[in-house]
Symmetry: C2
Subunit: 246 residues, 2 copies
């Protein structure tokens, strides 16, 4: 269980999420330039990657593992505002005032790449294709989050859970993993906080979906037994039809 890294010189060129991440579309030469500016670290479960209020110094990418971002409520309670999977850009919250709005924590043993925000910007002015990819990723992350928020907004508990699961399914399959079998690295309470309900209600929704034969739920392991029926039940079938068609 040696947690620290004796990994043989991590490089973007070898990364399995490079096609989703910054390197996409970069020449070998440009890639080397980017590579030299990226730092790596391993975070254990519950480790903080950045904290709310911190100045926005780095952008992060999840290399493997998963991360949650939470903001502190008025009381001590915290609310989850996002989960991040491998290849996803982390740290864009608070692009506005250049301070992180939330606190990012690893949900499991997680490998993180970080690059200085300033260095990335200056590198972007030199490498147009990197600039394009950064813009694409940023607008994708921001847009996707907004879209999800919207489809979560005005729905019943079960539909929110379904939308959440379909969203995860889509993101895992985009990463080359199964769209119908995946593991929830977050707790029920995390999901509840994210979806605006209670842990108990999450449990009950899972039970209901299992009893309907749509899902197999075994602790953290989810298997989607009937994807079409699930999409049907999301209440926004046409959206997902479109998404999955791509």
């Amino acid at each position: 269980m040696s947690p620290s890294g004796e990994e043989p010189t991590i490089s973007c060129g070898d990364c399995h999420v490079r096609e989703l991440c910054l390197p996409r579309g970069l020449s070998q030469e440009d890639l080397t330039q980017l590579d030299s500016r990226v730092c790596h670290r391993i975070a254990q479960r519950r480790d903080v990657i950045y904290r709310a209020g911190d100045p926005l110094r780095f952008l992060y990418v999840v290399r493997s593992g998963s991360v949650k971002v939470a903001i502190g409520d008025a009381a001590g309670t915290e609310q989850i505002i996002g989960f991040y999977l491998p290849g996803e850009l982390l740290g864009l919250d608070g692009l506005n005032d250049h301070r992180h709005r939330g606190t990012a924590r690893a949900l499991e043993t997680t490998s993180i790449c970080e690059i200085s925000f300033d260095e990335l910007e200056s590198l972007c002015t030199k490498l147009p294709s990197l600039n394009r990819q950064v813009e694409r990723l940023m607008s994708k992350e921001l847009g996707a989050e907004q879209e999800l928020m919207l489809s979560l907004a005005r729905r019943g508990v079960e539909q929110r859970i379904v939308v959440f699961l379909l969203n995860l399914s889509k993101r895992w399959s985009q990463r080359g993993f199964s769209a119908t079998r995946f593991t929830l690295t977050m707790t029920r309470d995390d999901i509840a906080s994210y979806l605006g309900m209670t842990g108990e209600t999450v449990t009950r929704a899972f039970v209901a979906l299992r009893n309907s034969g749509l899902l197999k739920v075994e602790k953290k392991n989810i298997q989607i037994l009937d994807l079409d029926a699930l999409i049907e039940r999301s209440g926004s079938a046409e959206i997902y039809a479109r998404v999955f068609a791509r």
Copy 2:
């Protein structure tokens, strides 16, 4: 009541929201360049400004009046995703796939400025200060919307209404109008759709806030009688303390 325009050559330099809008920080010379590329139109209540699915050709700014943006739900029902006040950038939905996600309609007689997206982009490459202002506005619009969504997410009906009212109050005061007296140009059902509740519930929340002595509600006219108490009741007092301090 002549609705169509005999307005004496509208220009950005004379506009009362120029300090919130694209012209901000531009030299007289640059302003002229921008001005020549902006078109104006007047929309009546319920007029469509752009429609969901339309290719993203223009960016719009509300010059006076107000606008709502709605997306069609699975059934014929529509859901409001945003309201826009004078000086606010309109049409950023669907920056992703270059198609508008929602349909924008005027809530009252509204004056709209439009500028071709392509022309704005090319102009930005020539005028750095315009480019900076565009970036600032975009990140502000996107960030603000996200922030609002978050503060609306996990709250009871009354709190959501309060947050909504405080948000409007802030935006009106930023535009030089009263922070405590304003008119709701949208219907109760519009508010309800936006906040994820029903029209009846909006009414009841208004009644409750009136009975508590925090609000004076007279049809569409709102008067905030006790701003501090309202902020207190929003459940995110510290956020608004910060906002109003600016």
